[in-house]
Protein backbone atom coordinates (compact mmCIF):
# COMPACT_ATOMS: atom_id res chain seq x y z
CA UNK A 1 0.00 0.00 0.00
CA UNK A 2 1.20 3.54 -0.73
CA UNK A 3 1.43 6.06 2.10
CA UNK A 4 2.12 9.75 2.19
CA UNK A 5 4.27 10.85 5.13
CA UNK A 6 4.65 14.55 5.96
CA UNK A 7 7.86 15.52 7.71
CA UNK A 8 8.88 18.86 9.19
CA UNK A 9 12.48 19.83 10.03
CA UNK A 10 12.96 22.79 12.36
CA UNK A 11 15.93 24.47 14.00
CA UNK A 12 16.14 23.63 17.71
CA UNK A 13 15.11 26.46 20.02
CA UNK A 14 18.75 27.04 21.03
CA UNK A 15 19.68 27.67 17.37
CA UNK A 16 18.15 31.00 16.38
CA UNK A 17 15.85 31.08 13.37
CA UNK A 18 16.46 34.42 11.60
CA UNK A 19 13.90 33.60 8.90
CA UNK A 20 11.08 33.22 11.43
CA UNK A 21 12.31 36.24 13.39
CA UNK A 22 12.34 38.40 10.25
CA UNK A 23 8.83 37.33 9.22
CA UNK A 24 7.55 38.26 12.68
CA UNK A 25 9.53 41.49 13.19
CA UNK A 26 9.79 42.98 9.71
CA UNK A 27 6.54 41.85 8.17
CA UNK A 28 3.83 40.83 10.62
CA UNK A 29 4.60 43.36 13.38
CA UNK A 30 5.06 46.21 10.90
CA UNK A 31 1.73 45.44 9.25
CA UNK A 32 -0.14 45.53 12.54
CA UNK A 33 -0.31 41.82 13.39
CA UNK A 34 0.77 42.52 16.95
CA UNK A 35 -0.79 39.45 18.51
CA UNK A 36 1.79 37.11 16.94
CA UNK A 37 4.14 36.00 19.71
CA UNK A 38 6.49 33.81 17.68
CA UNK A 39 7.20 32.47 14.17
CA UNK A 40 9.55 29.58 13.46
CA UNK A 41 10.47 28.52 9.92
CA UNK A 42 11.46 25.05 8.79
CA UNK A 43 11.61 22.59 5.92
CA UNK A 44 8.73 20.40 4.81
CA UNK A 45 9.09 17.04 3.05
CA UNK A 46 6.22 15.00 1.63
CA UNK A 47 7.41 11.44 1.15
CA UNK A 48 5.44 8.74 -0.66
CA UNK A 49 6.37 5.27 0.48
CA UNK A 50 5.26 1.69 -0.10
CA UNK A 51 4.55 -0.17 3.19
CA UNK A 52 2.22 -2.78 4.66
CA UNK A 53 0.66 -0.37 7.12
CA UNK A 54 0.79 3.17 8.49
CA UNK A 55 3.06 2.29 11.42
CA UNK A 56 5.65 0.63 9.18
CA UNK A 57 5.56 3.60 6.79
CA UNK A 58 6.17 6.02 9.66
CA UNK A 59 8.97 3.92 11.13
CA UNK A 60 10.69 3.55 7.76
CA UNK A 61 10.67 7.30 7.20
CA UNK A 62 11.99 7.95 10.73
CA UNK A 63 14.74 5.38 10.29
CA UNK A 64 15.72 6.78 6.89
CA UNK A 65 15.85 10.35 8.22
CA UNK A 66 18.05 9.26 11.15
CA UNK A 67 20.39 7.03 9.16
CA UNK A 68 21.05 9.49 6.35
CA UNK A 69 20.92 12.61 8.53
CA UNK A 70 18.03 14.02 6.52
CA UNK A 71 17.76 16.15 9.65
CA UNK A 72 20.83 17.34 11.51
CA UNK A 73 20.39 16.31 15.16
CA UNK A 74 22.90 18.98 16.24
CA UNK A 75 20.68 21.83 15.09
CA UNK A 76 17.28 20.45 14.09
CA UNK A 77 14.29 18.51 15.30
CA UNK A 78 12.25 16.19 13.12
CA UNK A 79 8.48 15.88 13.45
CA UNK A 80 6.23 13.53 11.52
CA UNK A 81 3.13 15.63 11.02
CA UNK A 82 0.85 13.19 9.35
CA UNK A 83 0.67 9.77 7.67
CA UNK A 84 -2.17 9.03 5.27
CA UNK A 85 -2.86 6.57 2.46
CA UNK A 86 -2.17 8.04 -0.96
Amino acid sequence: MLWEVEVVLENKKAARDPVGETIKRDLLAKKGYDKISNVRSGQYLRINIEAKNEEIAKNMVEQMCNELRIFNPVTQTLTILNVKSS
Binding site: K12, A15, I70, V74, T75
Partner: protein, 236 residues
Amino acid sequence: MSIKIAVIEFPASNCDLDALHVLNNVLNVEASLVWHNQFKEKDYDGAVLPGGFSFGDYLRAGIIAAHSPAIDEARIMLKDGRPIIGICNGFQILTEAQFLPGALLRNESLKFICKWVNLRIENNKTAFTNRMKIGDIIDIPIAHGEGRYFTDKLKELVDNDQIVFRYIDEKGIAASDANPNGSMDNIAGVCNLEGNCLGLMPHPERASESILSPKGTTHGKLIFESMIDFIKRRRK
Protein backbone atom coordinates in the same frame (compact mmCIF):
# COMPACT_ATOMS: atom_id res chain seq x y z
CA MET B 1 59.35 12.34 -3.10
CA SER B 2 57.00 15.17 -3.93
CA ILE B 3 54.05 16.03 -1.73
CA LYS B 4 50.75 15.08 -3.31
CA ILE B 5 47.56 16.85 -2.31
CA ALA B 6 44.09 16.20 -3.71
CA VAL B 7 41.65 19.05 -4.23
CA ILE B 8 38.37 17.15 -4.21
CA GLU B 9 35.73 18.50 -6.56
CA PHE B 10 32.01 18.12 -6.02
CA PRO B 11 29.34 19.27 -8.46
CA ALA B 12 29.33 23.10 -7.97
CA SER B 13 32.65 23.43 -6.14
CA ASN B 14 33.97 26.79 -7.35
CA CYS B 15 37.04 27.58 -5.25
CA ASP B 16 38.77 24.39 -6.41
CA LEU B 17 40.96 26.11 -9.01
CA ASP B 18 42.03 28.82 -6.55
CA ALA B 19 43.15 26.19 -4.03
CA LEU B 20 44.89 24.24 -6.80
CA HIS B 21 46.69 27.37 -8.01
CA VAL B 22 48.00 28.26 -4.53
CA LEU B 23 49.22 24.72 -3.85
CA ASN B 24 50.85 24.25 -7.25
CA ASN B 25 52.17 27.71 -8.04
CA VAL B 26 52.65 29.46 -4.70
CA LEU B 27 53.69 26.52 -2.55
CA ASN B 28 55.12 24.32 -5.31
CA VAL B 29 53.59 21.04 -4.24
CA GLU B 30 51.98 18.52 -6.54
CA ALA B 31 48.26 19.16 -6.20
CA SER B 32 45.58 17.77 -8.49
CA LEU B 33 41.87 18.13 -8.99
CA VAL B 34 40.02 14.89 -8.27
CA TRP B 35 36.36 14.27 -8.93
CA HIS B 36 34.65 13.23 -5.70
CA ASN B 37 33.76 9.69 -6.72
CA GLN B 38 37.24 9.00 -8.08
CA PHE B 39 39.25 10.11 -5.06
CA LYS B 40 41.52 7.35 -3.67
CA GLU B 41 43.14 8.29 -0.38
CA LYS B 42 46.18 6.03 -0.87
CA ASP B 43 47.44 8.26 -3.70
CA TYR B 44 47.72 11.44 -1.57
CA ASP B 45 49.43 12.92 1.48
CA GLY B 46 46.52 15.22 2.26
CA ALA B 47 43.30 16.66 0.87
CA VAL B 48 41.45 19.94 0.44
CA LEU B 49 37.67 20.15 0.33
CA PRO B 50 37.23 23.47 -1.47
CA GLY B 51 34.59 26.16 -1.16
CA GLY B 52 31.65 26.91 -3.37
CA PHE B 53 28.56 24.74 -3.30
CA SER B 54 27.90 21.04 -3.59
CA PHE B 55 24.89 19.34 -5.12
CA GLY B 56 23.06 22.69 -5.13
CA ASP B 57 23.36 22.73 -1.33
CA TYR B 58 19.93 21.09 -1.38
CA LEU B 59 18.45 20.01 1.94
CA ARG B 60 21.41 21.59 3.81
CA ALA B 61 24.81 22.83 2.62
CA GLY B 62 27.19 19.86 2.55
CA ILE B 63 24.80 17.06 3.47
CA ILE B 64 24.58 15.36 0.06
CA ALA B 65 28.36 15.59 -0.43
CA ALA B 66 28.84 14.10 3.03
CA HIS B 67 27.44 10.85 1.60
CA SER B 68 29.89 10.81 -1.34
CA PRO B 69 32.41 7.94 -1.71
CA ALA B 70 35.12 10.61 -1.21
CA ILE B 71 34.07 10.89 2.41
CA ASP B 72 34.62 7.17 3.04
CA GLU B 73 38.11 7.56 1.56
CA ALA B 74 38.68 10.73 3.61
CA ARG B 75 37.75 8.84 6.79
CA ILE B 76 40.60 6.37 6.12
CA MET B 77 43.00 9.23 5.40
CA LEU B 78 42.19 10.97 8.68
CA LYS B 79 42.45 7.79 10.69
CA ASP B 80 45.92 7.33 9.24
CA GLY B 81 46.84 10.81 10.54
CA ARG B 82 47.05 12.61 7.20
CA PRO B 83 45.64 16.16 7.05
CA ILE B 84 42.33 17.28 5.53
CA ILE B 85 41.16 20.89 5.36
CA GLY B 86 37.61 21.95 4.50
CA ILE B 87 37.14 25.53 3.39
CA CYS B 88 33.68 27.15 3.44
CA ASN B 89 31.47 24.53 1.73
CA GLY B 90 34.23 22.05 2.58
CA PHE B 91 33.75 22.97 6.27
CA GLN B 92 30.00 22.41 5.90
CA ILE B 93 30.70 18.98 4.35
CA LEU B 94 33.09 18.03 7.19
CA THR B 95 30.52 18.88 9.87
CA GLU B 96 27.73 17.05 8.03
CA ALA B 97 30.06 14.03 7.68
CA GLN B 98 30.62 14.32 11.46
CA PHE B 99 34.40 14.58 11.07
CA LEU B 100 34.07 17.90 12.87
CA PRO B 101 31.67 18.90 15.65
CA GLY B 102 28.82 21.37 15.23
CA ALA B 103 27.00 22.70 12.18
CA LEU B 104 26.85 25.78 9.95
CA LEU B 105 23.54 27.62 9.82
CA ARG B 106 22.26 30.49 7.73
CA ASN B 107 23.91 33.82 8.58
CA GLU B 108 22.02 35.72 11.24
CA SER B 109 21.57 38.65 8.80
CA LEU B 110 20.17 36.24 6.15
CA LYS B 111 22.59 37.95 3.74
CA PHE B 112 25.49 36.55 1.78
CA ILE B 113 28.57 38.22 3.30
CA CYS B 114 31.73 38.83 1.29
CA LYS B 115 34.45 40.83 3.07
CA TRP B 116 37.88 40.70 4.71
CA VAL B 117 37.91 39.87 8.41
CA ASN B 118 40.46 39.42 11.19
CA LEU B 119 40.92 36.06 12.88
CA ARG B 120 42.78 35.22 16.06
CA ILE B 121 44.72 31.95 16.30
CA GLU B 122 43.38 30.03 19.29
CA ASN B 123 45.23 26.74 18.79
CA ASN B 124 48.61 26.40 17.07
CA LYS B 125 48.99 22.67 17.64
CA THR B 126 46.94 21.62 14.62
CA ALA B 127 48.32 20.42 11.29
CA PHE B 128 47.24 23.77 9.79
CA THR B 129 48.39 26.34 12.35
CA ASN B 130 51.83 25.11 13.43
CA ARG B 131 53.50 28.10 11.71
CA MET B 132 51.57 30.56 13.87
CA LYS B 133 51.48 31.55 17.51
CA ILE B 134 48.44 31.61 19.76
CA GLY B 135 47.06 35.14 19.69
CA ASP B 136 48.43 35.92 16.21
CA ILE B 137 45.98 37.88 14.07
CA ILE B 138 45.47 37.06 10.41
CA ASP B 139 43.72 38.91 7.55
CA ILE B 140 41.48 36.72 5.47
CA PRO B 141 38.31 37.05 3.40
CA ILE B 142 34.95 35.37 4.00
CA ALA B 143 32.25 34.76 1.39
CA HIS B 144 29.27 32.78 2.56
CA GLY B 145 25.55 32.70 3.24
CA GLU B 146 25.57 29.82 5.71
CA GLY B 147 28.48 30.29 8.08
CA ARG B 148 26.86 30.70 11.48
CA TYR B 149 28.68 28.12 13.56
CA PHE B 150 26.49 26.33 16.09
CA THR B 151 27.27 23.58 18.54
CA ASP B 152 25.42 22.06 21.45
CA LYS B 153 28.76 21.09 23.00
CA LEU B 154 30.59 24.40 23.34
CA LYS B 155 32.20 23.59 26.69
CA GLU B 156 33.53 20.31 25.30
CA LEU B 157 35.03 22.16 22.34
CA VAL B 158 36.73 24.70 24.61
CA ASP B 159 37.97 22.02 27.02
CA ASN B 160 39.36 19.92 24.14
CA ASP B 161 41.02 22.93 22.49
CA GLN B 162 39.12 22.38 19.23
CA ILE B 163 38.44 26.05 18.50
CA VAL B 164 41.16 27.08 16.05
CA PHE B 165 40.07 30.55 14.85
CA ARG B 166 37.80 33.28 16.25
CA TYR B 167 36.52 36.41 14.48
CA ILE B 168 37.96 39.45 16.24
CA ASP B 169 37.91 43.23 15.90
CA GLU B 170 40.84 45.56 15.17
CA LYS B 171 41.79 45.49 18.87
CA GLY B 172 41.98 41.71 18.91
CA ILE B 173 38.75 41.27 20.88
CA ALA B 174 36.16 38.65 19.94
CA ALA B 175 33.40 41.26 20.18
CA SER B 176 29.90 40.84 18.79
CA ASP B 177 30.58 43.63 16.25
CA ALA B 178 33.42 41.53 14.84
CA ASN B 179 31.18 38.51 14.43
CA PRO B 180 30.05 38.63 10.78
CA ASN B 181 27.45 35.87 10.80
CA GLY B 182 26.25 35.24 14.35
CA SER B 183 28.60 32.30 14.99
CA MET B 184 28.52 30.96 18.52
CA ASP B 185 31.43 32.35 20.57
CA ASN B 186 32.78 34.07 17.38
CA ILE B 187 34.00 30.69 16.09
CA ALA B 188 35.42 30.77 12.54
CA GLY B 189 37.15 27.37 12.46
CA VAL B 190 37.35 24.15 14.45
CA CYS B 191 39.44 20.98 14.34
CA ASN B 192 38.98 17.35 15.30
CA LEU B 193 40.47 15.95 18.51
CA GLU B 194 43.60 14.78 16.69
CA GLY B 195 44.18 18.16 15.01
CA ASN B 196 44.58 16.71 11.50
CA CYS B 197 41.16 17.84 10.25
CA LEU B 198 40.32 21.54 10.07
CA GLY B 199 37.20 23.32 8.89
CA LEU B 200 36.97 27.07 8.48
CA MET B 201 34.56 29.45 6.79
CA PRO B 202 37.20 32.02 5.65
CA HIS B 203 39.16 31.41 2.44
CA PRO B 204 42.94 31.00 2.90
CA GLU B 205 43.34 30.31 -0.84
CA ARG B 206 42.17 33.89 -1.52
CA ALA B 207 44.68 35.31 0.97
CA SER B 208 47.91 33.63 -0.11
CA GLU B 209 49.25 36.25 -2.53
CA SER B 210 49.82 39.92 -1.68
CA ILE B 211 48.22 41.10 -4.94
CA LEU B 212 44.86 39.78 -3.71
CA SER B 213 44.95 41.39 -0.28
CA PRO B 214 43.89 45.00 0.41
CA LYS B 215 46.69 45.21 3.00
CA GLY B 216 49.20 43.25 0.92
CA THR B 217 49.21 40.38 3.42
CA THR B 218 49.63 36.67 2.65
CA HIS B 219 48.34 35.18 5.88
CA GLY B 220 46.28 32.45 4.22
CA LYS B 221 49.49 30.92 2.94
CA LEU B 222 50.53 30.15 6.53
CA ILE B 223 47.69 27.64 6.77
CA PHE B 224 48.83 25.73 3.66
CA GLU B 225 52.51 26.01 4.68
CA SER B 226 51.65 24.55 8.08
CA MET B 227 49.86 21.68 6.34
CA ILE B 228 52.90 20.99 4.16
CA ASP B 229 55.28 21.18 7.16
CA PHE B 230 53.03 18.72 8.96
CA ILE B 231 53.20 16.30 6.00
CA LYS B 232 57.00 16.62 5.84
CA ARG B 233 57.36 15.95 9.58
CA ARG B 234 55.15 12.86 9.31
CA ARG B 235 57.45 11.46 6.65
CA LYS B 236 60.55 11.73 8.84
